[in-house]
Symmetry: C2
Subunit: 257 residues, 2 copies
């Protein structure tokens, strides 16, 4: 049983998802605060927490304050908190936990590694939660909390978490951008992007059983210059040409060295 009370600062995607899963697991969230008063009120109401209007008043009825705010806001928020050395944890993949030193002796990161969309529920049990804390008691508290909502809890250093965050950007932001480039290209040529969706799904299915390197196929890997040239001539956009060139070269190098 987890008998600590939680205050959440923030009202964005991560704040919403954490408030929902905590509520579902009957973990008590007592307070919610955000500069977006309306969204904070919505979240507080949904989980029967108190909506706190001013940052300086948050944490009165909580043992643990979670800052689910944007990276840029962490320092600012931290300075306004009156924590009295309660545990303070941010949820950022990239921000140093040391940022929180200014507001508490017990600080940490509680990073759920997923791309969240408000109101779109996901299976939280499968989402890795990465914990970094500045002392063992804080670490244990956050591990206990994380274990209640996820089956994949790990303690990890700041620098390792940041490397993971970089990798998350590569496999999420960058691949999604490739989908966008491809979708834009097809739209210009009046071809339906839907046609690619089974392929996109199967590309992901394949990494469940194999290392992605094993799954690589295509003209770049086998140095099929004829096909590469044909493709190149089918691209008008200079930006896409450049991306095609650099990724093709990188695939070739990775598989032929």
């Amino acid at each position: 049983m987890f008998n600590k009370k939680i205050a959440i600062v923030g009202s964005g995607n991560v704040a919403w998802h954490l408030s929902e899963i905590f509520n579902e697991k009957t973990i008590e969230v007592t307070e919610v605060c955000s500069r977006n008063q309306e969204e904070a009120k919505k979240i507080a109401t949904a989980i029967q927490a108190k909506h706190i209007k001013k940052l300086k008043n948050i944490g009165e009825n909580a043992d643990l304050i979670i800052l689910a705010v944007s990276d840029d806001a962490i320092e600012k928020v931290c300075k306004k908190l009156k924590c009295k050395n309660k545990i303070v944890a941010h949820t950022s993949g990239i921000a140093n936990t040391q940022l929180l030193k200014a507001c508490s002796k017990n600080f940490a990161c509680f990073y759920p590694l997923q791309t969240f969309t408000k109101y779109h529920k996901v299976d939280f049990s499968q989402i890795p939660v990465l914990i970094s804390a500045n002392n063992i008691e804080t670490e244990n508290t956050l591990k206990d909390l994380a274990n209640l909502i996820s089956l994949k809890v790990e303690v990890i250093s700041d620098i390792q978490r940041q490397k993971l965050h970089l990798s998350a950007v590569i496999v999420n932001n960058f691949t999604n951008h490739l989908y966008t480039l491809s979708s834009n290209y097809l739209a210009k040529n009046t071809i339906d992007f839907e046609l690619l969706k089974p392929l996109i799904q199967e590309t992901v299915n394949k990494i469940s059983s194999n290392n992605p390197k094993v799954n690589q196929t295509g003209p770049a890997k086998r140095n099929d210059v004829k096909t590469i040239e044909k493709h190149f001539n089918l691209i008008e956009d200079e930006d896409l040409k450049e991306i095609y060139k650099i990724l093709t070269l990188s695939i070739y190098t990775t598989h032929n060295e």
Copy 2:
């Protein structure tokens, strides 16, 4: 009912998948031929077709010859065929159908848009099959055949199919390479790539309801220079640095113009 008989040339991934799905749908494959005799024999045996050892002998008991061979091999195979103007179709996304003019008056492309792995069955009904043919009778025959195995059959010009193939390379080969780069990076830093899999799956889930452009998030889109610099400093490999730079710039440009 489809009462035409099929000969398959090739014994790779596409040949195996087509032979399996044709057999499942009781579409008669009478002959299988490949320069890889052993693999051709395996396929022929599995679906009770005749294993033909020499190309010049294929098609005697068939109305339609499907060339499921590599792009480079299409022309060579075509020259050796004795087709007597039976329908000849290749399965390549990128090769011109005109290549087949040399061996028949009735030529086409029958392109199943998917990444295939031998012995790993997929739901063929969801795989788009793109047809290009040089006359309406050939087109209709191939449409009839395609409709028996897939719910997503379209007639498309050579050039449109090639543009689709380019897009397939972007969303499959290129994204899989990003998985590889990320997996290699994490391995070097002794971090488990498994941690990224829920994120990778959710990235794909999100395009089922939204245009990928709408789903874009991350430091590049919001021009979060601090995070981008941090990431950049976490990369040692020059190749990955270059890819990070060019994709970050492209995301920024796409979303801030």
